[in-house]
Symmetry: C2
């Protein structure tokens, strides 16, 4: 099994996982001191934190440590994009038993750093502690480049609802793994999401009034954008499906719509745009799937045009939401 | 036992713990969106993250949830001070079983928010997930007010070594709890540290060349400041002891020096100052205990003048450090 965390100790592990890290030009002080110092040229910082727990958010028999690390970073980096920001720096805490192989911790951190590096973000700090569970605590920091942050609840009736990225892939991949079908294409989407990071700033620059990433499922997450004054009409047939969904649904005998409406963790971005900004946004987001999926109306609630039954969103404690 | 997290659910819990939070003027967007936005007028952010695990960093039979929350915030806020920064915002992740009473989670968050509020910092975001362990993941963000960050390894031979705050209280309190003596005064120091937050920026303004907070024990933490070119001579008799140490040592039959040199979690600040800055620093830190404890020398290593045997520092995985 090779060395464990207990063999190399806290400081030995920190040295091994921080040594390969490359720090970008915005990092004034990286790992190794009491805290990191990162340039925030805008005079503001966008900040978000997320926890991922083994057995609930990931399983090492279904994903490599590297893929888990990438997914952990992606989840928080997508939250920065969903404010219209660019993620520039991440911090990561790892809780694990002393028996965890060092290779697993190194794989987690290598994947985490690779996902960060995919958009030139730096891993600037972290913590490691012993615990009975394996858990990653991720904080992402980002820059707004002088723009206003795009909140959840500022859509206007008449706005056009667009989705950048695809839906349902992660949920379908999870279903495939549960059914013992790791050969299906959608499994890759579950292991490592591909959030359209750059679309966040692009949509903000195109005057998006509201912006969110789909982390718990479209039906639930879109509900977070509803206010007493506005709601949504969504054309279910227009929702952009992950390309592997049809094959997965056929193989598993499932209804792909459940994955499209209820599946989270793909981190597609959903924006409410003024009608005259849609074509500009489509061009700015040309490198990702872009779909007009509905409109904002002046009635509270969501009308799913073309769907009979919409699944509820995911609740981490199993309560009502 | 009252309601559990499973009863109220993830979103119910988030609503309860975020509702009482007060946001300071630097918070442009607080909890409830994909990410928070905080003003960083300096154009830089100081950032640090820490994990605390039940059974390892705290025990609910020894500390109230409120005290655990305060301690969790204090640990990261002290790291910001140790860079010479002011903590302005915190994020917190809570992992807990669905069976955890809501009152415990509310107590944790109330203590966390109270500690933040003690220096006008805001709790701007967080996450809650189900897990088999109880764990807090804390990220603190801070502002340097235009000063340079004070690193660990930039002391000069000839600098004077000072300690702001006291040492050994937390370790003595832990020993008292282990010995079944929760009546001893030092127990309060273990439950909630009182880091001299404002002394960090004050020491930075007084031209501190190196700065660190004592989180794992002076003997280990001071070792982090040693370089091949410089070391320390420490006058052990001059080290500022927590006022309850003598009574605790008498009651427990222990050597208080073990707590002073090896005990962490008090978060006293240790600084290397140019000799001509010491009196100015003493005045700037007048509201906290301030002691000149030694000097920086041009030889690698630490000489503990007046101590025969110096305990090693704490390693989270029990490895060598």
């Amino acid at each position: 099994m090779g060395e464990s965390l207990g063999d190399v100790g806290e400081f030995g592990l920190i040295e091994r996982v921080t040594e390969p890290l490359r720090q970008g030009p915005d990092v004034l002080l990286g790992p190794g001191d009491d805290a990191a110092v990162v340039r925030m040229p805008d005079g503001r910082v966008v900040a978000t934190t997320d926890l991922l727990v083994e057995g609930r958010h990931f399983r090492f028999d279904w994903s490599t440590p590297y893929d888990v690390g990438r997914k952990a970073a992606a989840q928080s980096m997508a939250d920065i994009a969903a404010m219209g920001g660019w993620c520039t720096a991440l911090l990561v805490g790892l809780a694990a038993p002393a028996s965890l192989p060092v290779a697993v911790a190194e794989g987690l951190m290598a994947g985490f750093a690779a996902e960060a590096a995919s958009i030139d973000a730096s891993v600037v700090g972290g913590d490691v502690v012993a615990a009975d569970c394996v858990l990653l605590a991720v904080t992402a920091l980002g820059d707004l480049e002088g723009r206003e942050p795009v909140p959840r609840c500022a859509a206007f009736a008449g706005d056009v609802l667009v989705v950048v990225g695809t839906l349902g892939g992660s949920a379908a991949g999870l279903a495939a793994l549960r059914a013992g079908r790791p050969d299906l294409d959608v499994v890759a989407a579950h292991r490592v999401p591909c959030p359209p990071y750059g679309a966040g700033p692009a949509l903000a620059a195109c005057r998006a009034n509201a912006l969110i990433d789909v982390s718990d499922g479209l039906s639930g997450d879109l509900g977070h954008l509803v206010t007493p004054d506005i709601g949504f009409e969504v054309d279910v047939a227009a929702l952009p499906r992950h390309p592997g969904l049809a094959a997965a649904a056929a193989a598993l005998g499932a209804d792909p719509l459940d994955w499209v409406l209820g599946g989270g963790e793909d981190h597609a971005l959903v924006a409410a745009l003024p009608p005259d900004a849609v074509e500009e946004a489509r061009e700015a987001c040309a490198e990702w799937p872009f779909a007009v999926v509905g409109r904002v109306v002046d009635r509270e609630g969501i009308v799913w045009v073309g769907a009979a039954d919409v699944p509820a969103s995911f609740d981490h404690f199993g309560g009502t939401s």
